[in-house]
Amino acid sequence: MMDIVEDLWAAYASTLGFAMVNAFFALATYATLSAGILSFGAVTFGAAGGFLGAQMVLHSTVPLPLIFLAAGLAGAVVSLLVAMIFLRLESHWMALASLALVLITRVVVLNTPDLTGGVNGLSIPQPLPLEWLAGLLVVTVGAFYALDRSWYGIAARAVREDTSVATCMGIDPRRIQLIAMGISGFVGGLGGVMMALMLQFVSPDTFFIHVAFTMIAGVVLGGSHHWFGPVLGAAVFTALPTVMQAFIPEMQDIGNGAALLLIMIFLPRGLLDPRAMRLRRARK
């Protein structure tokens, strides 16, 4: 019996790990989305955190917690720089600009081999203890929960629903969005270093369009109006290929797409929808 549990754990621990890493990226996207900004920038913030973390593991003896902190801060610094330039754009142009940023990130990573290892990327001889990953995710989710209940959470919701109303309520939308970008940057940077340690290597392809799609799909799938939605969505999106491989190995990608499509058509507001939950509670 113990053997079965152990074997299951050995088989699926890495899937769980990637689900948690993707949860960081999804949360980073949720952070901006909950303040009314659709941004794929977390990929770039992740690259900043990932490559800095990789270099710190390779060239210093700094303990892991400090590396995580540094990666988060690197992501936050990049995100605030980006925010200062991007936030004057209207929301849809902001989304496109952040997509352009992702494309540029890869070119920059490819062409700065001294910092990033260039095409070959960097190998990282340091496994990521899953308890660290899980612990940090719990803390991060806790922080999102607290933020959701705080003054900032209310203000962010107001900005998301209607910027002009928010302004009338005495909220400065730009300030809220700047804070949202900062949070996104920190969490994205953390996600980046987690991804790097989970893969034990980083390359230009580690932080590219597919991560952008994974995280946005995670958020929307899980529910973009609930602080736990991104975590759930990232878990579902990460587990899908594994599940499909077990049942229809030949057609797994088609199965992934179909599952994603069905969820979106029948639950367009995601798996966790606070509005539906409130309605259900009211009906009781």
Partner: protein
């Protein structure tokens, strides 16, 4: 100097593909506010179908191209009606939840269509059979113009001009814009919104599909990933050109193609894509309304 003009021509031919694909991409983006991740798959599928139409059915080249374009359009209608239509109940235009939902369903279709295209090509990179398409080369002194480059450039002029005319001079164009603006109001104004949406999706898929077919022939590469390369540059062309400005998209596409070729020839091929994307970002920051800046982006 000879090399300069030869590369200028190569750049224009490459850019014409970006422009063509971008016109199809921009059509859906402008009228429906959908950032369609599956657009590249239309190009792949059109090329695959056109190739098999020649290879297996033995159809003549122009007919096969038409069949491919039809296939691209039909795939686009399928994606629109299954993936986007159910989300339109959210309300008009670019409601954020609907836009996000459409992005995700388009990602879902992208995954499925690309995977299915992999099966259709046996996971290989195939090509149109040699000799099945015009392969003549026109010479003018030291300059040379392969027939496929000429067809691509002509294709951009015809499709771009045609779409510009439809958009600005016909009732259909006005209806397309009206539906994009507000389907409910357009419906009240006597426009059958659903028909217009389907027609727009078909045009969009057909045009991007045409770009896919031309690209598949001139690069001797018909594979599941054909659309991806067009997708990123086509996206850049749309944004630089102004998302609902067909002239702008065509010119931006040409400019991106020329920029790409000249960067590789005279500067550095590893930074080549960086220049294109930096240009894209620069336009977003400085001229978010595109090259000609005529289009106002007022829906939010």
């Amino acid at each position: 100097m000879e090399l300069f003009f030869a590369q200028l021509l190569n750049g224009c031919a490459l850019g014409a593909l970006y422009g063509l694909f971008g016109i199809g991409f921009g059509l859906v983006f402008a009228t429906m506010g959908i950032l369609n991740a599956a657009q590249g798959a239309y190009a792949s599928w059109a090329a695959i179908v056109a190739m098999y139409a020649i290879d297996l059915l033995g159809l003549p080249f122009p007919v096969a191209v038409l069949v491919g374009i039809l296939a691209g359009g039909m795939v686009a209608v399928l994606v629109d009606q299954i993936g986007f239509e159910p989300l339109r109940r959210f309300g008009p235009g670019l409601h954020q939840a609907a836009m996000l939902g459409a992005l995700i369903t388009s990602i879902a279709f992208w995954i499925m269509l690309e995977s299915a295209a992999g099966f259709a090509t046996g996971q290989q990179s195939l090509a149109f059979p040699p000799g099945s398409y015009p392969a003549a080369v026109f010479h003018a002194g030291p300059m040379m113009l392969p027939a496929m480059q000429a067809i691509t450039l002509a294709g951009l002029v015809v499709v771009g001009g045609g779409m510009h005319w439809i958009n600005t001079r016909t009732r259909f164009g006005a209806a397309m814009r009206a539906v994009g603006w507000d389907p409910v109001a357009a419906g009240l104004g006597g426009v059958n919104a659903r028909v217009i949406v389907i027609a727009t999706a078909f045009l969009s898929g057909g045009i991007s599909g045409f770009a896919g077919i031309l690209s598949g022939i001139s690069t001797a590469n018909v594979s599941a990933s054909l659309g991806q390369g067009l997708m990123l540059k086509g996206f850049a062309a749309v944004v630089v050109g102004g998302y609902d400005d067909i002239r702008g998209t065509a010119i931006a596409g040409l400019a991106l193609g020329v920029l790409e070729v000249f960067c590789a020839q005279y500067l550095s091929s590893s930074w080549r894509d960086g220049f294109a994307y930096a240009l894209l970002l620069g336009f977003l920051m400085l001229r978010p309304r595109g090259l000609f800046g005529s289009a106002g982006f007022t829906r939010a």
